[in-house]
Structures are given as structure tokens and as C-alpha cells.
């Protein structure tokens, strides 16, 4: 990811902010310029719930370039408590411990590094709830 693109998205990726259509109430993450449900362009920022449920998941053992050192890692579809489905990594758990339906919460983590001299990309992943 280019530095300007990363910079444009930091506020949303750091704080898990999506957008809500003011016409029909549909919520999106990542943000959209046009509502995928009703076609409206009237969208406003929406702070997403930071707790959700694992809908499905898989383990990545042959990662794309830039993610090699994190393998194996878990990628899941998590349905947040406000109904939004997000594609995310799930951390602090082994693949054999993962279960569909488990409750997870947002965690702030490194996502990717541009080598040893480039920018470090941070953002949200999810983990089993700490309580």
C-alpha cells in the first residue's frame, strides 16, 4: 500500500470507523462512496461496534507477499454486533482452538511492514474477548 493511501485510511482503520447511509441506514466497512443498497451518495461516518461473532474462518499457510512472517495466521469473517460483516485476522488463538460462533473483540495490531525501512501499517484485527 502506498504511503498516501495508508495515510488516508488510518483514521478509519485505527478506530474502526465505517459509513452509514442516511437514506436507508445500511452500514459499510470499508467506507463506500455510494450506498450499495439504495444508491444514495448521502453517507456519514459510523463508529462500528468492536465486538462480534466469528461467522467463518480459515488458516492461511501460504501467505501473499509481505505477510510471510505472520504465517500461519487466521482470516475470518466476523459479524459485528451492529450487523456489519468484516474480513479480518483473528489473533491470540491457535487454529485448532478456533470455532465458528465464538465471540471476539477488536485488537490494535501491526498489519504489514514495508520492509525494514518503509512504513509500518497498523490497524484492527480481532481476538477472543479478554475478560
Amino acid at each position: 500500500m502506498s504511503v498516501p493511501r495508508y495515510w488516508r485510511e488510518t483514521r478509519y482503520r485505527y478506530r474502526l470507523i465505517g459509513e452509514m447511509c442516511t437514506e436507508c441506514g445500511a452500514i459499510f466497512f470499508p467506507r463506500r462512496a455510494v450506498c450499495l443498497k439504495c444508491g444514495s451518495v448521502e453517507l456519514e461516518e459510523y463508529k462500528l461496534k468492536e465486538i462480534g461473532t466469528v461467522a467463518t474462518w480459515t488458516t492461511i499457510r501460504n501467505p501473499p507477499e509481505g505477510y510471510e512472517k505472520y504465517a500461519p495466521y487466521i482470516v475470518a469473517l466476523v459479524e459485528l454486533d451492529d450487523g456489519v460483516m468484516v474480513l479480518t485476522q483473528v489473533v491470540d488463538i491457535e487454529p485448532e482452538e478456533m470455532k465458528t460462533g465464538m465471540r471476539v473483540e477488536a485488537a490494535f495490531r501491526k498489519v504489514k511492514e514495508d520492509g525494514s525501512s518503509g512504513i509500518i501499517e497498523y490497524g484492527f484485527k480481532f481476538r477472543p474477548i479478554i475478560e
Binding site: R11, R15, Y70, A107, K110, Y122, I130
Partner: protein, 348 residues
Amino acid sequence: MIMKTVNTVGIVGYGAYIPMNRLRASEVNRVWGGSGTPIEEKSVTAMDEDAVTIAVECARYAVKRGKIAPKDIGAVYVGTESKPYAVKPCGTIVAESIGATPNVMAADYEFACKAGTEAFQTCIGLVSSGMVRYAMAIGADTAQGRPADALEYTAACGGAAYIFGRKPDRTIADLEGSYSFVTDTPDFWRRGREMYPRHGSRFTGEPAYFHHVISAAKGLMEELGTEPGDFTYAVFHQPNTKFPIKAARTIGFGMDAIKPGLVVPFVGNTYAGSTLLGLAATLDVASPGDRILAVSYGSGAGSDAFSFIVQDEIANNPRLDPPVSVFINRKRYIDYSLYSKLRGKFIK
């Protein structure tokens, strides 16, 4: 000389974070043939954690605990010697992540293990003067230890964040006074571009840790007209299990006073996070009216001593963040091979 604030300043919120990986001291012994056990086990970051992610986790919990609007935080200072960037502040990332930007001061502090309490002093001054409503001080590290070195047993990862505010805002512990004691003492250092620090072995004890910790603690107590018996709890910087216990006993504190905050046997030395984590664990069990002494130590060298008096708010404030004990018990043991990968010790 004791430092007192013009207005009453206190802790409004605090939060801790400890990564869940643990490396037992016995595992280091297995690989390198040693027999020492300065601690039981230490915390180790996951591959996608660093001092910034730890600082952000602490900061988010502190905001929850304080129940304040992040936009009211006027300063975010991160004390660490594990900066992911040599040039680019951790503080800006933390401030952005909690929603305190853009009208906020942000910077990183470095004073070995006392960078976090150095940030305390700045935040306390800013809040007392009225320059900002709230200020956040964080101590967070992913400490470095050379393979087979004594530090490899203890150099750990974790941190804690504190938000300071001024009465009449609700505070859970008010500052009674602080005292700093600093000299030029080369007991531990890491040169630029060096991966691991060096230290003066036994020199790190009497002329360094004990001289500064005890001088700061005694200096503060003398100026306040207090004795160890006036404090319910005491927290001392924890490079290993032995040092804080010896310092406490030398000053006149018993184990009951330091035990709640003695997290090093189970977490290791989280460097700039060490005293702050110990204070957080102590606040977790404290009651209104308790007086707490917290004394940091940073190599190079210096100590900051603080006296806090716990307020009624600590009991009136239902928690939205996990106590330190939850993080201590949330763990996954790793072996030395995985530890070496996670801490970047392999050359590919």
C-alpha cells in the same frame, strides 16, 4: 526537593496491557545451560505486536476506565526504548487511534526504564497549570536482551497508560507530591543502531538501582513527613524479583505492601512499563484512603517517586477494562525457537 502541584492533580483513568506469550526462565536455562531464575517467566510479543500496539491497547483501556472524551486529552506522551521508528513518534499513532487528534501534543520519551514516569511528571505539570484538561502518560516496551545474557531472562513486553486530570474532575487517586533523583551513572546503555543493550553487571545494583530508588523514596517521604508505615502499598521498579524486595526492605516496607504490585515474577521487566504496571496492579486492589508510594528507576540513571492517595471514585467507578491480573493469567507458553522468531533473532 519535593514537587507539588498548584492545583490538585490525580489519576482519572489507567489501563494495562500484557502480550499473552510467555517464555519460562527454565527454557532460557535449557538452551544456554544456565541455572538462574531471576523470574518465573516473561511476556513476549506476538509477531504483529510492538511498543506502539501495546501503547494503543493501554491507552484505549485508560480512556474506557476514565470514561472521558478523547478530544479532551491535550497531551499524549509515550515512554519507551523500543520505538518501532527511530524517527516518527509513537505518540501520534496513539493519539490518532484513541481519537485525540488533532488538537493535542504528542511525543516520545526516552529514559531507559523510567521514561514512563518522566512522562508522568510532564503530564502532571501540564494539567496542574491548566494548559490542558487531561494528559496521558504511557510506559510501554518490547525490551531487548542479548541471547545468553542475564537480561534475556527478564527483558519483557507490556505497558500501562495513565490519564491525569485536575479537581474538580473525578479522580481515582490524587497526587500528594513527587520527587526526582537523577545522576549521570552509566550502568546500562544501548548505542545508536545497536540491537541489544550493554550493562555493567554488578554495577547495576548498589550505585545505580538501589542508590537512586532509595534516595528518591526517602527524599519524598522526608519532605512529606511520612514513614513507610503511613503507606498502604509501595511499588518499586522491577528489573527482577530480588531488587524491588531488597529496596523495599531497606526502606522499611514489608512484603504485604509490595506484593500486590510485584508483577515481575510472572511478566518480567517491561522496562518503561514496569513501575506503571506495578502501580496499575496495586490500584486494582486499593481502597479509598490508601496511600501508595510508586518509585521508578531508569538506567543512566534516575528515579521518580510519587505519593498517591486513593479517592472514593475508585469504588464508584465500575470497570470497563480488565485488571492486570487478567492479563497475567492470559498466557500461552512458547519455546525458545518460537521466541527467537518472534523477537527477530534469525537472519534469513
